[in-house]
């Protein structure tokens, strides 16, 4: 099994979800995160004091998938998340030893 992790722009969540659903991804987990990167942040002013906010809101999407599906899914994800503007985010893939469905105890691809 492989774990696909993607950091995307929040307003792209629906598009990505729809795209992944479209190619048979039946489950994923989403986390609200904050990103630091080339995109840079913004400044805020409170009573004349300026603050540099380096972190911008992002969404992290994690999906455990079958190894053979990784390339298709990553491709679909990247297409759906791309806006061609800086800050679109990253996708990375890591190896998973095993996955279990809590409800049934099923393992491996049956657990997805």
């Amino acid at each position: 099994m492989k774990l696909i992790t993607a950091i995307i722009k929040p307003f792209k969540v629906d598009d990505v979800k729809t795209a992944l659903k479209g190619i048979g991804v039946v489950g994923l987990t989403l986390t609200e995160v904050q990103g630091f990167g080339r995109q840079g942040g913004h400044t805020e002013t409170f009573r004349g004091s300026e603050y540099q906010i380096d972190f911008v809101p992002k969404v992290k999407i994690e999906a455990v998938v079958r190894p053979e599906d990784v390339d298709r899914i990553v491709e679909a994800l990247v297409d759906a998340a791309r806006t061609d503007k800086i800050g679109d985010g990253k996708v990375w893939v890591t190896d998973v030893d095993m996955v279990i469905r809590i409800r049934t105890g099923e393992r491996g691809s049956d657990a997805l």
């Binding site: 929040p10 307003f11 969540v13 629906d14 809101p57 969404v59």
Partner: protein, 421 residues
């Protein structure tokens, strides 16, 4: 028709109306974020449904009578009011009291009651419990009032009444899953403190407005409302400091409300120093009373019983000791009050003997029994028909989504969602 009195009672009416949202936030901050809208809705429902009922029939039945037991229909449908006199002012002022009384009960049934059941419970309870009790305690010829029991702004008819009714409903409704082993801390204490601020603010209208005139008694009631709340808030803090080692914001908020409840029946009959005493006593007693539910195992989620029932009883009984209408310039025992029919005697500590105390005990005893029995029957009937309790699944998911199809907060700063129409 004195413009100062009209201005005073109208603005007090607006203040009391504002109390129901205040109560909604006070309660709503204490529940988990999955149930907060349901709590707000239980309160707002009272304020849209009950006032209509009040004007259509409630007021006439609860105030317009010559017998001791119940009013008639002469003032039903807003008929027969003379707008050059105070009566329409009084009618609408009291509509806000009718609205907030069932709302008090919402705190006890939090997190688990089917909204449909609540929606039906509220108007029925107002008619079969609130209206008669109000007549007995408040109406010029009400039998409990005629005997000489005193309730200036609704300690017996509102707080004791709603508090004991809350006990009856939770006994039928049962405990929340996991309680008492598990508890759910307030999802937003600032919301609780906002509710507290609004309640205190509005309570000046509730108590001092009940004089129905901007006169010396209203001033005394205003002062007492201020002092009793402060004293009870302080008392609760001190108990916490000694017992728990910390002074909590929920503690001071609870104490303030307990003091406001306790002074409600007494505020027009006692002196400033007595109001401080009543506040201190109520603060200490209620601070312990909120833990009684763990001993007896009834799930009074947000302590309606510990604060409103107990606080109301404390204040109402202490009238029997502290009442000093003479000091406030009432001709004692003579007909006084807005309708000239009130008989205000002295309390035990001020040369009045035990007579008044006895009447206070009787009046509260009567209300306790009547309200508990009728409410219990009503709750049982609703449970047997449409069912009071939400499903366990709904309780886990939360009542906001399951009862109202809404969620209170959508944090995702700029996640938008597809509309499905």
């Amino acid at each position: 028709m004195d413009s100062g009195n009209v201005a005073w009672v109208l603005i007090c009416g607006a203040l009391v109306l504002f109390m129901t949202p205040g109560l909604a936030f006070f309660y709503g901050g204490m529940v988990r974020s999955k149930n907060v809208l349901n709590m707000l809705m239980m309160n707002f429902w009272c304020v849209v449904v009950v006032p209509l009922l009040w004007v259509v029939v409630g007021y006439s039945l609860a105030f317009n009578g010559t017998g001791g037991w119940l009013g008639n229909f002469d003032k039903a449908f807003g008929r027969g009011f003379d707008f050059s006199g105070m009566e329409p002012v009084v009618m609408i002022f009291l509509a806000t009291f009718a609205a907030i009384t069932p709302a008090l009960i919402a705190g006890a049934v939090a997190d688990r009651m089917k909204f449909a059941a609540w929606a039906i419970f509220v108007p029925l309870w107002s008619l079969v419990v609130y209206v008669p009790v109000t007549y007995w305690v408040f109406a010029p010829h009400g039998w409990l009032r005629a005997r000489g029991s005193l309730d200036f702004a609704g300690g017996t008819s509102i707080h004791v009444n709603a508090g004991i009714a809350a006990l009856a409903v939770v006994l039928v409704l049962g405990k929340r899953r996991g309680w008492p082993k598990e508890g759910a801390p307030p999802h937003s204490m600032p919301l609780v403190m906002l509710g507290t601020g609004i309640l205190w603010f509005g309570w000046f209208g509730f108590n001092a407005g009940s004089e129905l005139a901007a006169d010396g008694v209203a001033v005394q009631a205003f002062i007492n409302t201020f002092l009793a709340a402060a004293a009870a808030g302080l008392a609760w803090c001190l108990v916490e400091r000694v017992r728990d080692g910390h002074i909590t914001s929920l503690g001071v908020a609870s104490g303030i409300v307990a003091g406001l409840v306790a002074i409600t029946p007494a505020c027009g009959f006692v002196t400033s120093m007595s109001s401080i005493a009543i506040g201190l006593i109520a603060g200490v007693i209620c601070c312990f009373a909120v833990r009684v539910k763990f001993r007896f195992g009834y799930d009074d989620a947000l302590d309606v019983i510990g604060v409103h029932l107990v606080g109301g009883l404390v204040g109402s009984v202490l009238i029997g000791f502290f009442a000093d209408p003479a000091a406030l310039g009432y001709p004692p025992g003579k007909g006084v009050g807005a309708d000239g029919l009130l008989r205000a005697s002295q309390g035990l500590f001020f040369g009045g003997g035990g007579g008044l105390l006895a009447e206070q005990l009787l009046a509260n005893g009567v209300v306790l029994v009547f309200s508990f029995v009728v409410t219990f029957v009503l709750a049982k009937a609703l449970d047997a028909t449409i069912g009071l309790r939400s499903t366990e699944e709904d309780e886990v998911v939360g009542l906001d989504v399951t009862q109202h199809g809404e969620a209170a907060y959508h944090s995702g700063s700029d996640r938008s969602m597809d509309r499905t129409f």
